[in-house]
């Protein structure tokens, strides 16, 4: 059994590696010392107080919150519409249609960012939150589409035709059958897309200009000196996104039956 023991120990190590940066981040955000390291300098909330008093951090936080709220609604709507189209219709060009709907997350964000920067600068949108929102929706919609499409896969394709035969219009069927069925996936999609948008920094960095979102602020701080304030902001950002991801995972319908 020793082989199995070694394997278990290795697995624990791999997970430790994955979790270490988060644990260290949060722990040292409460450390009183100026440099986040050992020995422990005593418990303190002063770095949190400091960031709440920092205007640029507060402004970035509200921008990120606004952007992610709008992005999650738009991306989830587009994701639902695409998933439903894939579920209900067959048409010529469906494969390329689905490809452009699903591919954006596989393109490195740096390259998307550069492309969007040049595009938005031509239409004079660089430096606006609208540009950030448009870019984030591109990245986020495929996640919502995937979640909702999985949910639709569990809905019998005969249910909607049954409603139509009974005289319900397609809009009424959509409203009273399809959308309620998809609701858990729609809510999960809202949460996941909000989390992705809230964390995204590369596209935002390229197109936001002076309208820095919170992750862009963090990126700017990273270029300066190490400060426990970044630990505090990071912990806050992490806490918000993990809450959203946890919500999504709890309400995502289990596939196993």
């Amino acid at each position: 059994m020793t082989a199995a023991r070694w394997q278990a120990a290795w697995t624990v190590l791999v997970f430790l590696f994955i979790l270490t940066p988060i644990a260290s981040l949060v722990v040292f955000s409460f450390n009183a010392d100026r440099f986040p390291s050992l020995p422990w300098g005593g418990f303190s909330l002063k770095w949190y107080v400091a960031i709440f008093q920092d205007d640029s951090v507060r402004a970035g936080f509200w921008r990120s919150l606004r952007v992610s709220a709008i992005v999650s609604v738009l991306a989830t709507f587009i994701g639902f519409a695409t998933a439903y189209t894939d579920y209900r219709y067959n048409f010529r060009g469906k494969l390329p249609y689905l490809a452009i709907a699903a591919l954006p997350p596989t393109v490195p964000v740096l390259i998307l960012g550069l492309g969007m920067l040049s595009f938005f600068s031509m239409v004079n949108l660089v430096g606006t939150l609208s540009a950030v929102i448009a870019g984030h929706v591109v990245i986020c919609a495929p996640f919502a589409m995937a979640l909702i499409r999985m949910r639709l896969a569990d809905m019998s394709p005969d249910i909607e035709p049954a409603a139509w035969n009974l005289g319900a219009s397609r809009w009424a069927t959509m409203w009273s059958i399809t959308i309620p069925w998809c609701m858990p996936a729609i809510l999960a999609g809202l949460a996941i897309t909000a989390a992705v948008s809230f964390d995204e920094f590369m596209v935002a960095w390229f197109v936001s200009g002076l309208e820095e979102t919170l992750p862009v602020r963090i990126l700017a701080l990273l270029q300066g000196q190490v400060s426990p304030r970044i630990n505090a902001i990071g912990s806050l950002v992490f806490f918000i996104s993990i809450t959203l991801v946890a919500i999504a995972q709890v309400i995502t319908p289990r596939q196993a039956r």
Binding site: V107, V138, A195, L222
Partner: protein, 289 residues
């Protein structure tokens, strides 16, 4: 499956309402920007202004510079190294989750693997920057043992730690799914025929999960190849990776056409790698087993 099977070509408002949003949005904000990126590689910068043109000068300029090829090779090597490292590190863990762990442990593990994918990569890299620094937690601990301090930042080691942070969760997850889809009776049969655990893994489990294992390594390569944060903040930026070249050309150099040349080269490289990987995973196209 269209609700109206009659052969008519009337405008269908309902279908259009649901089909059009993705088409419109992704064309406007995904395809057009990417197309513009390709077009821009042929544009010129005249007295600091971007001017549409049709010149090969940007391509010439980048492709004849040593720093471009140094950067290209370095980026490629790092990505290949990380793809191998991540696969090797992930495999025992994925194998453990797929074959030995309890269902409860498995559920918790999946949650822990999904979470990092959606939670601030930037913040995790910042955290590593502190942990690995000369006065950081790790070096303090090494100091207790009378070792160090070690230089773990601003070199390939630091960058690799960052890259692994980025792709290890995904690698473990894809490998785990690949391994759990293996037909268990194959492994039982191998055992019945007298195969030891190691031999079973090498000659039955790994070939059976080949597609998933190759995909996992490919994703690690793609993520590493395009990443900017790890090489810039943990790797120290020297030699510059392609991602750093892009950012430099865009942010400080203000020469977008040259940055686009690098970006388009990266996209072509990634597509080539992806097809090579799919070919390796599925064999010759059309030749089904």
């Amino acid at each position: 499956m269209a609700p109206s099977s009659k052969p008519r070509r009337r405008f269908d408002g309902f279908a259009t309402f649901w089909g059009a949003p993705a088409l419109i949005w992704q064309t406007a904000f995904f395809l057009v920007p990417l197309g513009l990126l390709v077009a821009m590689t042929f544009w010129a910068v005249k007295s600091y202004r971007l001017t549409p043109d049709f010149t090969a000068r940007n391509w010439e300029r980048m492709f004849t510079r040593d720093y471009f090829w140094t950067g290209y090779l370095y980026t490629f090597e790092l990505a290949a190294l990380v793809a191998v490292l991540a696969s090797v590190i992930a495999f025992p863990a994925a194998h453990y989750l797929a074959f030995r762990a309890s269902p409860r442990a498995r559920r918790i593990a999946i949650f822990l693997l999904v979470t990092p994918f959606f939670t601030s990569y930037l913040v995790r890299i910042y955290s590593w920057k502190i942990i690995l620094s000369t006065e950081g937690v790790l070096n303090v601990m090494f100091g207790w043992l009378g070792l160090g301090p070690f230089e773990m930042l601003n070199n390939a080691f630091g960058a690799t730690i960052g890259y692994l942070t980025l792709c290890l969760p995904l690698t473990v997850m894809i490998q785990y799914f690949a391994l759990s889809n293996i037909d268990r009776s194959l492994i039982g049969a191998a055992h019945n025929l007298g195969c030891g655990p190691l031999r079973t893994t090498v000659s039955v489990t790994i070939p059976a999960a080949k597609i998933g294992l190759i995909l996992a390594a490919t994703f690690a390569f793609i993520l590493t190849f395009g990443d900017y944060v790890s090489p810039a903040y943990l790797g120290g930026g020297t030699p510059p990776t392609l991602s750093i070249l892009i950012v430099d050309q865009t942010k400080s150099g203000n020469h977008w056409p040259r940055a686009s040349v690098v970006a388009v080269t990266m996209v072509f490289t990634l597509i080539t790698v992806l097809f090579a990987a799919l070919f390796a995973a599925y064999g010759r196209p059309g030749a089904k087993k």
